[in-house]
């Protein structure tokens, strides 16, 4: 099974604000950005137990400033792009560890950053997300961007 968790800040997100200012500077029509760290776990595990474990790993989740959500879908939300390393070494083992903690039943782990863009009070359309991806959010030399049911940058490295 696969379970995706998103960790986002409940306090002001300076990185998201910087991205907002930079994207506006680059002419991208965006008025708000939400950012979260995505963790995709694969293996045979109890999702509730895994979530409980994650909540105790302070390098991932600090209850004083983070929100932890289980992401049900396999695709980004509307207006959202997932940026991950193209050739990220996927942790594959019978004993995947995070910050020294063994995650029972987890056989692989991938990470990504999720950026959700809003424009005109609504989630940004695909063209706006694509503009943000191309101009700043993704370095196609080592990253891939997944949004709107597409992996936008594969063509550049085909």
């Amino acid at each position: 099974m696969i379970a995706r968790f998103a960790v986002s800040l409940t306090i002001p997100d300076n990185a998201a604000y910087t991205a907002l200012v930079a994207l506006r500077h680059l002419g991208v029509d965006v008025d708000r950005i939400e950012r979260s760290d995505l963790f995709e776990f694969e293996g045979s595990f109890d999702v509730g137990e895994l979530e409980s474990t994650i909540r105790t790993i302070e390098t991932i989740f600090n209850p004083n400033k983070h929100r932890l959500e289980l992401r049900p879908g396999a695709e980004p939300l509307p207006g959202e792009v997932w940026i991950g390393e193209r050739d990220e070494p996927v942790a594959t083992s019978s004993r995947v560890t995070v910050a020294g903690r063994i995650l029972a039943g987890v056989q692989s782990l991938r990470r990504a950053s999720a950026w959700r863009l809003f424009s005109g009070g609504r989630t940004a359309d695909s063209a706006t997300v694509g503009h943000a991806v191309d101009s700043l959010l993704c370095n196609t030399a080592f990253q891939r961007a997944l949004y709107d049911s597409r992996t936008s940058t594969d063509a550049a490295h085909a």
């Binding site: 910087t18 991205a19 930079a22 390393e85 070494p89 700043l136 030399a141 080592f142």
Partner: protein
């Protein structure tokens, strides 16, 4: 002649860099991100020092590459001015596309990405030596060619690019430095970060823009060494402590190249 040492929010190696440049006999000034770009153009060369420009938000070097000061640096580089990026400055140069320079500006074709082994930060003294025909760059031509000691101190120093781009980097003589052992042999063990082709530094085709991942300014004087025989022997001897160390050769070469390029421009 004077060198502008750029400071972005989060840069942290500017003072050592200025001192190392000045020790090589060249005037250096800090150029903060709030500087009027028109005034920032009044330098003969630029150095982008190490640190975490804009806190490496989004990814290392990404935001700084779009700072208005970088418009000045890009214009200067295109006019033939010398530009040296060290560590985070090197990451910025790759994000601008100035190095390796095989694609359009601000469309990076390569990156210094998170280190192998999960992006773990490493701080270790390394050797790197210039490779290829050094005559292709005034900067490289001013080096002895011997391995130079520097400090690799980064979490994102692994050169990555597509196979096609790596081939272009190799065939285009864009590899300026590779990690080596102390005898100058390029070995896997000498690479601190999993960098493709063992690359420690890249240079553009014109030879005036160098992106160097390890820090020469952190190994420019004996007093910067870790405790060991050389440093212990220099204890209680101010002159010996202030003696130049390996990384100073980078700044000496930079000063020589600056003289050569300024005379040519």
């Amino acid at each position: 002649m004077k060198v502008g040492v750029l400071v972005f929010p989060g840069t942290n190696s500017e003072d050592e860099t200025v001192r190392a440049v000045q020790a090589a006999g060249v005037v250096a000034h800090l150029v903060h991100w709030s500087t009027d770009p028109a005034a920032a153009g009044d330098f003969d060369a630029y150095i982008l020092p190490g640190g975490f420009a804009y806190e490496d938000r989004i990814r290392a070097g990404a935001v700084a590459a779009h700072d208005k000061l970088m418009d000045v640096v890009i214009a200067g580089a295109q006019a033939g001015k010398l530009v040296l990026g060290i560590c985070n400055g090197a990451q910025v140069l790759l994000e601008t596309g100035l190095v390796p320079g095989t694609g359009p500006i601000r469309r990076p074709s390569a990156a210094f990405a998170p280190n192998a082994a999960g992006g773990r930060f490493r701080s270790v003294r390394v050797y790197a030596r210039p490779v290829g025909d050094r005559a292709r760059s005034p900067f490289l031509a001013a080096l002895s060619g011997e391995p130079i000691t520097m400090w690799a101190s980064h979490g994102d120093g692994r050169l990555v690019a597509s196979a096609v781009e790596l081939q272009a980097i190799e065939s285009g003589d864009h590899i300026a430095f590779v990690y080596t052992d102390e005898r100058g042999r390029a070995t896997d063990a000498a690479i601190p970060n999993g960098s493709a082709l063992g690359v420690a530094g890249l240079i553009n085709a014109r030879g005036n823009v160098l992106a160097l991942m390890p820090h020469p300014e952190r190994d420019s004087w004996v007093f910067q060494h870790r405790d060991g025989p050389e440093k212990l022997a220099a204890m209680n001897d101010t002159q010996a402590m202030l003696a130049p160390s390996g990384g100073s050769e980078i700044f000496t070469a930079f000063a020589r190249a600056l003289g050569a390029t300024s005379a040519a421009r």
